[in-house]
Amino acid sequence: MPAFFLALRRLRGPLITLISVYAVAVLGLTLIPGVDGEGDPVRMDFFSAFYFVSFMGSTIGFGELPYPFTAGQRFWVTVCIYFSVVAWLYSIGRAIALAQEPAFRQALTQGAFKRAVDRIHDPFYIICGYGDTGRLLVEGFTERGKRTTVIDLEQQRINDLELAALEIYVPGLCADAEHPASLIAAGLNDIHCAGVIAVTSNDKINLKVAITSKLLQPHLKVICRSEIHDVGINMESFGTDHIVNPFDIFADRLATALHSPANYIIRRWLTSPSGTPLSEPLFPPRGRWILCGYGRFGKAVDRFLSFEGVEATIIEVDPKHTDAPYDTIVGRGTEAVTLREANVEQSAGIIAGTDDDTNNLSIIMTARTINPDLFIVARQNRQRNSALYEAAGIHLVMQRSDIIARTIITRIVNPLLAEFLELLTDDDMEWSNLLATRISGACSDGAHTWNLSITRARCPALAVSLYQGAGISLSTILDEAQKCSGEKAAPLPLLLKRENDTMMLPEPSTLLQHGDQILFCGTHSAENLITWIAGNLNALESAMQGAAETPATNSA
């Protein structure tokens, strides 16, 4: 709407000019005497005059109507032609200038963006920042059918968003997320807005976004990225729902990978996009490690490593400034000398954790030439370097944006899975190994997780049967699904949540209750089968018969 008013205001001059020129021309034609076919004097009436001026102004053709003009009339028409042409040129020029004016274009794009946001009638999330993380988030949400709107400071990134091949339209606006007006334009006050996710690379902007959202819409879920602990604590103080510190999560994952590879691989599988083939588990060796770079990332890694009891030699180019321990080896780690000094020949693994991808790659290449058996962990800062990191044959790549995006997507799209991963402890190695084996057995075509809530709306047959007092155990449904699909392994229930009870890996003999929420992992066809059994009374009865005939067996 502002664009429309701006256009009207700017076109005031041209329109008044046109009206005046037309009025004067018409008036002149009606006043100047002419002659008709028989030579009698005649005056043009307003209708003919307006008709003549209309086509004179736009085409200057059609001849002299209704009778050939007298010299006086021709004189007047000549003057009028020049004036009307100039008036039209002026008007069209102004209209084109208006269309090219940045303020007008901005008003237009803002209007289009607002209308696109208004048209969203499903719950949607506002994503502030369309860098590496924002892009992965938008892709992840879109893939799972969730709507999003995007704000970014750079027009180039909004252009990238427009060109991205997304299945659902994601409106994007080039605006400063720090201004409350930008967030409101992106739908902060919309009733369909479900939450705000601030993942810009600037902690201050993220903080401002969190404050704005919590002040204007306290009920909204707000998730923020924060790389500085103080800012994170500040965000927590006014109720930000979740704060993602990439360095901490990073270091925590790395520690998990070193300590309990099975646990790490389970997390990785379950948070991968649907259909990704299961990656191979890794077994990092025990022994002394080398840690290159002692910035925020290095510090976090060092803390978690010492917690795990892993000794690490630190290499840092500026130990004074980074407050590194006294036995730190000074250097970049990209030179063989420094690496030798850190005793790379006898080390088990190396972590290239500087904030420069080129240096990290260089560290890896150099280290590997000296000791080919090294287990290599590298930090990837920029997503565009993915091809290089893949080619470098690194055992474990830690990519910041990927980790943040996975954490946030899991938390929002599948809260049950987030809960499961939180409960997943890495104390019992054997238990984790067993779980990893069971998951890989259940998921033949890539890890896929889904929720089943036993409610009348979601699975009517199951809800009604339970209401009538039928005793249905988890195995009844699982066995039937396995029988129908003909697959080797049944889908695996990971978590069962009811009113005041949460069960990790519920037993197959568990009796279901109305209101249960179950997290499964398995194949896509298994999901369809289970949904079908839970929703169709005949299928459910056949499953119950099957369960009654064969005594309950342990499907695990």
Partner: protein, 127 residues
């Protein structure tokens, strides 16, 4: 004093006075209502409308609406005139004249509202 405000008020009032001048007289007497007066009223009314473009205040919106109503009524009057005389070739008699004048009479009401609103706005600005 602001030249733009002068022009604005000038056109709004001129639209009313010209319109009123055309309507004045016996409603069905063609000799009381001259075509040039209708033409002038229409042109001034159109210009007054354009001058009201782009004002986003509530008052501006109502002023614009009143002006659009006046335009519509005057254009209707001019079209009735043109069609009855040129297309249907009826003599400009009492029947046609009274519909033309009553249409422009409607425009007078809209123009009066415009002027009243203008006065209210001015008084408010004084306070």
């Amino acid at each position: 004093m602001n030249l733009q405000k002068v022009l604005f008020a000038f056109f709004i009032m001129l639209a009313l006075t010209l319109n009123f001048g055309f309507v004045m007289g016996e409603i069905n007497n063609p000799s009381h209502h001259h075509v040039y007066e209708l033409f002038a009223a229409l042109v001034v009314s159109l210009i007054a409308t354009v001058m009201k473009f782009g004002d986003r205040t509530h008052m501006g919106a109502v002023l614009l609406a009143a002006s659009l109503v006046a335009d519509l009524q005057l254009i209707a009057a001019a079209v009735v005139w043109g069609i009855s005389v040129r297309v249907m070739e009826i003599e400009l008699g009492t029947g046609v004249m009274s519909s033309i004048v009553s249409l422009s009479g409607g425009a007078v009401v809209a123009n009066v509202i415009s002027v009243v609103l203008l006065i209210i706005e001015t008084v408010q600005a004084r306070r």
